[in-house]
Subunit: 719 residues, 2 copies
């Protein structure tokens, strides 16, 4: 048993080793000219300054939560919280620090060849990806090892469960702040900079005369790299923890319980190895596309993961029968192995569907390009139509995944499928995190006046980034949808455990708070229906606040840039240097200020609903309403998130379709600068906060609502 756990920890260490190796390899690349380095250092300083301020703000919240969880729960929970928060922050911090160094090296490499640019950029992305997976796995497995080994706690002891849940909460709290703060920063800079630069001043994107251009590049790193890394870290950690807990519950009291709890860790360990292996398959073939090169890596990881999954199953639970679910379904290791394969299939299908909805060569994006020909309004209408429609196929895939894995191995089967799905996080994040690097590389190429073919290479890399970014987000939210039942089951079985212990009447008075509680999760219960409504409201309200925040930050940027243009007339002539730092500083303050209120929404919502319903009705109904809220937030969240991220990606690529000239249905070719292209820029602007702020932040909002509900139970149990 311990051997398997140590092997898992070794896999985690290997991912760190890969990250170190890859970092050295990236840093060893040529840094380009002095001008390029100067620009890169401005971006780096801005990004570091932002992240320092963001982490400082979160640290204040973090210290309070640390103390509160120590007081209300235990020191183990408090330490778990700290581990989750620190590692989640570290994944983002290190990833971003590599990213801000890889950008200039990618620009330099791209000036040699497209393949060289891809190589540096992808390696940088892979560092973030493997750090996310590795640190999350290490955090969970090492802490689990320490608690159950040296500290001698039973694997299914409440203290262990609480400590792991607190670890998830630490990761979640960082991720929601990082996603929102980073998202507001990056899109405030992007939208604001474009409005005043491209539209008013008529200068191209990334033109060094635009005072917001450094802020825009800083934003790519803090939002798309650090924010995304924290988000996926959290999804990964929460899923693994929830699967372990569910395994402990499903097989409680049987001989296999220890191996069942190790299975998710073993799967993740194996998938880290296959992800590392997959990175070596990402190579641009002579006549191949960039997307093709990336897919080679993804498919290699996926196929190898089947082998890894088999080994992980064999090494823990074996392939034979291991027990029955509460409903009498016989579960075997083989059926769990098939559930894992379904998880991989769901990943593959979601990648494929997202590519269809956001790829430049398919109907959805082409329909938006076509609609741009008749104007701004029709572009936005068609974009919204695509964004709404894009939710259909992923939902059907998720539903099929839920049904098939449940039929195979009950709830634990669903959990194993989600775990396997997230096992590939290292590879998927790598595909995503290379986006900001190439985006920055393009900016640096533009600002330092590199030849236009370098920009063309970085643009080609960047266009692929739009799709891979949408893919990662679809993958994250898809795993949340598939995992909805797992998180709800964790809540439900925790609650059932407390109620059972309370009514056991052993005189100890433990969990006495839960005496007589009988939650009713049936849809016939009005408190379940209001829970669904209130949970369903969160993604909408949250999205609305996030969009408003971006609008406000962008307006502030517009005013600042206009002020600089006015006060320093030499900027436009190119004789005066704009004050880049002011825009960065202003956005930093705006983003940090704007991120706090919406971040608290999913944290406070379950608590407020619990106590309000308790005041109106009773504890049972209050627990029922909160439970329903957990599903409500996913039921609307999955649609809001998918529609925003796919729609945004489609708008962005519809705009890009004009760069090579878009041939409309009447055979007329529209180029950059045409009216149709201008209409497509409007859609892209709308899509920016959709896909990079509001949409992706829905995922941590879902997770945090769930985790807070679990912690609420734990705290009430301590009363």
């Amino acid at each position: 048993m311990t051997t398997v756990l140590l092997l898992v920890i070794l896999c985690g260490v290997l991912s760190i080793a890969y990250a170190i190796w890859a970092t050295r390899s990236v840093l060893a690349s040529d840094q380009g000219t002095a001008r390029m380095q100067e620009i890169a250092s401005a971006i780096r300083e801005g990004a570091q300054a932002y992240l320092a301020r963001q982490y400082m703000t979160i640290a204040i919240v973090g210290v309070i939560v640390f103390l509160v969880s120590w007081w209300l729960l235990s020191i183990y929970a408090a330490i778990g919280f700290a581990i989750g928060a620190v590692l989640s922050g570290a994944a983002g911090f290190i990833g971003m620090n590599v990213s801000v160094r890889a950008n200039v090296r990618t620009a330099q490499a791209a000036s040699r060849s497209l393949a060289a640019g891809l190589s540096v950029a992808f390696k940088s992305g892979a560092i973030t990806g493997l750090l996310v997976a590795g640190l999350a796995l290490l955090g969970v497995s090492v802490y689990f090892y320490v608690l159950t080994g040296p500290l001698g706690l039973a694997v299914s002891d409440r203290t262990v469960v609480d400590a792991l849940v607190a670890l998830g909460f630490g990761a979640s709290l960082i991720s929601i702040f990082a996603r929102l703060g980073g998202g507001i920063f990056t899109k405030g800079a992007d939208v604001g900079g474009d409005l005043v630069g491209k539209v008013e001043a008529g200068i191209p994107e990334d033109d060094p005369r635009n005072p917001a251009t450094i802020a825009d590049n800083v934003g790519d790193n803090v939002g798309d790299c650090a924010g995304m890394a924290a988000d996926l870290f959290e999804t990964y950690a929460v899923t693994v923890v929830a699967t372990m807990i569910l395994g402990a519950i499903t097989f409680a009291g049987t001989a296999v319980v220890d191996s069942v709890m190790l299975l998710p860790l073993a799967i993740c360990g194996a998938c880290i190895i296959t992800s590392i292996a997959g990175t070596f398959f990402v190579k641009l073939s002579p006549n191949g596309t960039i997307m093709g090169a990336l897919y080679k890596g993804l498919w290699a990881s996926t196929l190898l993961s089947i082998v890894g999954l088999a080994i992980a199953t064999w090494g823990t639970v074996g392939f034979g029968d291991i027990g029955q679910t509460a409903k009498g379904l016989e579960i075997s290791g083989l059926s769990l192995f098939f559930c894992g394969i379904i998880g991989l299939a769901v990943t593959g299908l979601i990648v494929w569907i997202t590519e269809y909805y956001t790829g430049i060569n398919y109907r959805p994006v082409r329909s938006i390009s076509q609609a741009s020909v008749s104007g701004h309004g029709t572009n936005v209408i068609q974009g919204l139509a695509v964004s709404l429609e894009s939710t259909a196929l992923p939902t059907i895939v998720i539903v099929a995944g839920i049904i098939s894995t449940y039929q195979l191995a009950g709830l634990y089967g669903i959990a194993i499928a989600v775990t396997t799905m997230l096992g590939l996080a290292g590879m998927i994040v790598a595909l995503d995190a290379f986006g900001p690097v190439t985006d920055n590389a393009g900016g640096i190429a533009e600002m330092s006046g590199l030849p236009s073919d370098v920009r063309k290479s970085t643009d080609a890399l960047d266009a692929v980034g739009n799709t891979t970014k949408a893919v990662t987000k679809g993958y994250a939210i898809g795993s949340a949808g598939l995992g909805a039942l797992v998180l709800f089951a964790a809540y439900n079985s925790d609650l059932a455990y407390f109620v059972e212990q309370a009514s056991a009447g052993n005189g100890s008075g433990e969990f006495s708070y839960f005496q007589g509680v009988a939650p009713d999760f049936s849809l016939t219960n009005p408190y379940v229906v209001i829970g669904l409504f209130l949970g369903g409201l969160i993604p909408f309200l949250f999205g609305g606040i996030a969009m408003t925040a971006v609008g406000r930050a962008a307006s502030a940027v517009v005013i600042e840039v206009r002020r600089q243009f006015k006060e320093k007339p030499g900027i436009m002539a190119g004789t005066e240097r704009p004050d880049y730092a002011r825009a960065v500083d202003m956005l930093t303050r705006a983003a940090i200020r704007e991120m706090v209120i919406p971040s608290l929404l999913p944290v406070l919502a379950p608590i407020v609903v619990y106590f309000l319903v308790y005041a109106i009705s009773d504890k049972s109904q209050a627990f029922s309403a909160v439970g329903a809220m957990l599903l409500g937030v996913i039921v609307t969240g999955i649609f809001v998130a998918i529609s925003m991220t796919s729609g945004g990606g489609a708008w962005d690529n519809a705009k890009k379709s004009f760069e090579d000239g878009f041939v409309d249905s009447a055979g007329v070719k529209h180029f950059k600068g045409s009216d149709a292209h201008k209409a497509s820029v409007t859609g892209d602007t709308v899509g920016d906060p959709y896909k990079d702020t509001a949409g992706p932040a829905v995922n941590p909002a879902i997770k945090i609502t769930n985790i807070v509900a679990l912690l609420l139970l734990a705290v009430l149990a301590h009363l």
Copy 2:
């Protein structure tokens, strides 16, 4: 008992009498100049031609459904279906025929005074409103009377229940076709006409040189008048029927069951009287606003309805205790009376919230106007932010309504609240249906070259119409949200009834299909979760298809108008008359063609889900999944519908704010024709299909999913 029923029927007859009186009064008004009459007759002919073709298409579907329900259920069900379909269609048909005659008379009256214009337009709206309420009430009460009186069936006989449900289905089928077909027609004409007229040719809205201008005015009538009337007819009928069924179930076997079933009919009867009374309060006071005049009527109806509610309660169940719910809650007539008052309060709050989010003087619309100053993109971003945010307060009001009425009188209390809410439909629809009349009046004033102050009067009426239209839609979807549990309860108790009868084992073999069925509606059941997901998908997919259909219809209009401008160069010079009929005809065909597929989505979805889940698992899980689907479609539907209708209204009024000049935060005043105004036009274009096609069609989609599920049960019971 029969006395009360006859009194209710009398109230229904009174509403028809009011409609006849008001129609004569409208028709007696001055029709204006020959030019005005010529334009009005073109609009009238187009609208009639469209409606004739639409009803022809629906008739084909209707005859098939009639025969199938005769075959699968009973002749009573088939007749019920026919009554629902014919009356729902009639409400729309008559309302629209008055509307296309009132438009020119309103224009003429407005040339005398604003108050006179308001009077004619509102009277025309009130005709539609009272026809909707009156015909729906008559349909349900007369058929109920015939079935239970002359035909001698017991009030809670399955045949009666099936017949009433079929009546609801008839109304629903018409309403989804009418909402979608009308919505696609009107917004295809509006968006397409604006794009090519305002943007390309630079001619104002409603300019007679625009070949799409008659189509635009036709669209106002067929979409906003006929479509809306059919929708509210259906909501009204389905709610009354569901409340009656729920009353029959809750009080089955007790002495009060007959009076409990009459209570919803009595409430609606009383509210028709108060709605008629309210219409006489709508008068423009010397210094008052138009909205103020309308609100006087609404508040008068609402306050009088409290008295009506008291009389209805007193005349049926009385104020004393009448029985207990299954959970042991004592229900009194007084508590039901309070539930009714809560229903009125929910209506008032939703009106107030919608006015806040769409009114021109409040923060949300002003924030969109402000965002227009920085461009098209920020206008759309802020509009989407407002649209997402606008879901919050209505949801909280609905949740509060559910909880408070449930605490007072259980599920039946919720049902009474919804019934009372819909009792006001006559008045609310009147507020809405006056919108297309004033919109048309403005068009006629413009096209016939009336002095600009006439246009100013009609514009002022029209601006109010944007808010009242959003109010009606918020009200319709709000009642759906509040009624969600009632519809689900109808499904659940029908199912329970069949299962109970089947297992009673009386040897008759009746309902044998349901033997051994044990649905599990708990959120812990994965089939419930997939039901929620699949139901939740319907509004998104449906919305996406509807938006695409509008975009396609609008593009077709653009091409047609461009062709006419090219082939008839005299049009722009004003020497040649455009071929208005071609655009109308083309849109008619497009709308009818595009409405069929999305309309079938909510009809087929429950059936497909039932048989798929049955094939994979068993009957119990299939019924569970379908039940969850009914709630899933409401949980996302309510957010999608509110966000689309409020957001669209806000965009429209943000555009209107530039007509009198909008002062931005920097103190600069932006007028019509400014860049900020142009940006606001983009938002308005996007909002058009949002608020008039996709958003409002969500309501019938929710209702039809529910009704089909009930019919599915009835059909399976006959196997």
